[in-house]
Structure formats: structure tokens, C-alpha cells
């Protein structure tokens, strides 16, 4: 009974606060210069309170948000950061052919020593450098890597996500020139944390004796 009475008292005082907050709803229109309003809407959806609402105006690329004043403050901050000018990034792409050989493996080239221990854990003990390239571009720009070994990668610099400090590399399409014809190998979309080295290996099966390693690093 004591607990019940205390809960009632607390509940009643909270109800007063909620009623007062509902009365202080404000409307704010956000017009975006660099980013799409629909993407902004998806981004702030979790930030809206129960009383909050929003509508997209595609013709002006704007978002009309109605919510409590304190919530609008947080939403404004998020959207201001979101609608930043496209940032420039550098993507380093390296291709390495990895294979498992019996007996004494060949010596690892100096330029592959940084990734050799990781690949050795996967029992790939023979590595061949297939070339590398640096591509610089802004968010939304396309990127192309063409290597003398015949490999080619087409991709798009996607959006930078501050929450995960990562950039999306969209539609990364790897192909290989064979008999003067490009053969598609794989197509993927990747999220790369800035400064982190990723070794993306592609092979038919875990027991395959050969794999193609795509080594990627994105930098600002």
C-alpha cells in the first residue's frame, strides 16, 4: 500500500510535467543544401518524442519537424552536422593473391609484410602482390582503380557516418580483364572505419587453396 501510494504521487507529478511539455510544441523547417531530406527524416526518426511529427517537402528538399523545444534543439544539432558539405576521402586499394602451398613457402615480399601474419592465420602462406592504387574523391563521387595485373574496381564514395566514423564504399565492383574482356568477379558495399585496415578475402570455400585479398584503408 505504501509503495502504491508513493507511485501514485510520483505518477501524478510526472503527469503534470508531461501535460506542460505537450503544450510547448514548436515547429521548425530544415532546408538541406547537401543532403536529401528523406535521409535526414530517417536519421532523426529515433530522436522524435511521442508528440513529435515531421513531413518531407521534396520540392524544396526540406523537412518540417514539430516537437518539444528541448527535442528540437537536439534534432537541430544532429541535422546541422548531417548537412555538411561532402568531405574528401582517400581510399587505398591493394590486391593480393593468397594461396596455400605445401612445403617451404616463398619469401614474403616486403610490401606485404604488414598483412602476412594475418593471412598466415588463415593458412595462406604464399602471397603475390597484384598491385595497388590510391583514389581520392568526395562523398558521392565515383572511383575507378585499374591495375596492370588486369584487375579493375569501380565504386562510389558513399556517405560518411560520424556515429561510426566510417565511410560507405558503395557498389564496389571488382572485375578482371581476361582475353580482352572484363569478367565480373564480385559486387559488394562496404563500411570502412577511417584509418582501419581491412583485408576482404574472397574465395569459393573455406578449404579453397587460393583466395583474392582486397586490402582497403580509407583516410580523410
Amino acid at each position: 500500500m505504501l509503495t502504491a501510494a508513493l507511485l501514485m504521487v510520483t505518477g501524478a507529478s510526472f503527469a503534470d510535467d508531461a501535460a506542460a511539455a505537450a503544450k510547448s510544441l514548436s515547429v521548425h523547417t530544415f532546408t538541406f543544401k547537401y543532403k536529401d531530406a528523406d535521409k535526414a527524416a530517417a536519421m532523426i526518426k529515433p530522436l522524435l518524442s511521442a508528440e513529435g511529427s515531421m513531413s518531407i517537402q521534396p520540392s524544396t528538399n526540406a523537412l518540417v519537424v514539430t516537437d518539444r523545444t528541448e527535442n528540437l534543439r537536439a534534432i537541430t544539432k544532429t541535422l546541422t552536422e548531417f548537412d555538411a558539405a561532402p568531405q574528401a576521402f582517400r581510399l587505398v586499394v591493394r590486391l593480393v593473391a593468397a594461396s596455400r602451398v605445401e612445403g617451404n613457402p616463398p619469401k614474403v615480399a616486403d610490401e606485404l609484410r604488414d598483412i602476412a601474419p594475418k593471412l598466415a592465420m588463415l593458412r595462406f602462406n604464399s602471397l603475390e602482390d597484384l598491385g595497388s592504387a590510391d583514389v581520392v574523391g568526395r562523398e558521392g563521387d565515383p572511383g575507378i582503380v585499374t591495375l596492370p595485373s588486369g584487375y579493375r574496381a569501380d565504386f562510389k564514395f558513399g556517405e560518411y557516418d560520424p556515429a561510426s566514423d566510417s565511410i560507405k564504399v558503395s557498389d564496389f565492383h571488382l572485375s578482371k580483364l581476361q582475353s580482352e574482356q572484363l569478367t565480373s568477379l564480385l559486387k559488394t558495399t562496404l563500411n570502412l572505419r577511417i584509418g582501419q585496415t581491412y583485408i576482404v578475402g574472397a574465395t569459393k570455400a573455406p578449404q579453397s587453396q587460393r583466395a583474392l585479398m582486397i586490402v582497403l584503408v580509407a583516410r580523410k
Binding site: A5, L122, S164, K204
Partner: protein, 164 residues
């Protein structure tokens, strides 16, 4: 809904129609509160607020907590709050609570809205491979062992050519 006269003649009744009238008629609510404040507590569902295991178990649990706190207090500090004072404080809280309920009789809304609180957020983690062409492929992301370590992601796809 029953008439106000019927309600006022059957104030002590716990029939559903009496409580329904209490919930809907403000004049009778004021009347009932003046006559018997406990009616209001019943009207807002107070009877359903029986602790799990029953009141006896709840009371025993509370007393066990009181004894535990007493034992802790005797070790940690020397000035112990006497149980009588605890009982008096509890009675005071109950009295204040009931008074507040009676005073707040006109307002029935007890909905509590969640309040958003700004908190520090660490970096979120996204999957490295967000999409891949083949739905039958197996993608294994090996977590990196530390900062600065390369992260390995393996794509096993039977549709890939053997001479990659």
C-alpha cells in the same frame, strides 16, 4: 451509468457501476472524497495494486530489508535510526501521499511520457560487408585484436571463379 442519487446512497458499495460513476462524475467524486477518501483510491484501481505474493509476503520482505539495513548500519556507523522512527516516517509518507491524491482528485491523467536524455554515445559498429551480390555466400568477419590491427573479412561464395 447509475444516477447520482443512487451513487450517493451506495457510497460504500464496491460494485463496478458505483466505481464507474465515481470515475465519470466530478460532482460525485468531490462528494465521495469528502465522505470517504479511500473511495477515490479504489476508483483509480487501487485494489489491483496488491504486491506479488500478497501483502503478508510484502510486509515480511520489507521487515527483512529493515533488519538488513539495521545490521549494515550497526557495522558501518554507530547512529542507528530506531524502528519507531522508521515507522513514523513511513506513516507520514503514506499520509502525505493520500493527501496529495485527494488534493489531485480532479486530475485523472497518470500517463508518464518518456523524457529523452542526452547521453554520451560511443562509436557505433557497422558490418564491414553491408551488401553482397550473392545471397548464398557466407561472410565471416573476424574481429580485429586491437587498435591498429587489420581486420579480416572472408567471403566464401561458391559462385566465384576458381582462378580469382
Amino acid at each position: 451509468m447509475i444516477a447520482c442519487q443512487s451513487f450517493r446512497a451506495n457510497l460504500q458499495s464496491r460494485e463496478p457501476e458505483v466505481l464507474e460513476h465515481l470515475r465519470k462524475c466530478d460532482a460525485c467524486l468531490d462528494f465521495a472524497v469528502r465522505k470517504d477518501p479511500d473511495l477515490f483510491f479504489r476508483a483509480i484501481g487501487g485494489e489491483e495494486l496488491v504486491p506479488p505474493g500478497g501483502i503478508d509476503a510484502f510486509a515480511a520482505d520489507v521487515m527483512a530489508q529493515v533488519r538488513l539495513r539495521q545490521a549494515e548500519g550497526s557495522v558501518a556507523r554507530r547512529f542507528l535510526v530506531p524502528p519507531r522512527r522508521l515507522a513514523a516516517a513511513a506513516a507520514l509518507i503514506v499520509a502525505v501521499g493520500i493527501s496529495a491524491l485527494v488534493y489531485d482528485g480532479g486530475r485523472r491523467t497518470v500517463a508518464v511520457r518518456p523524457v529523452s536524455v542526452a547521453t554520451f554515445k560511443p562509436l557505433t559498429t557497422k558490418p564491414v560487408v553491408e551488401t553482397y551480390q550473392s545471397p548464398n555466400a557466407t561472410i565471416v568477419e573476424v574481429p580485429s585484436e586491437g587498435k591498429g590491427e587489420a581486420q579480416v573479412v572472408m567471403i566464401f561464395d561458391d559462385s566465384l571463379p576458381a582462378d580469382l
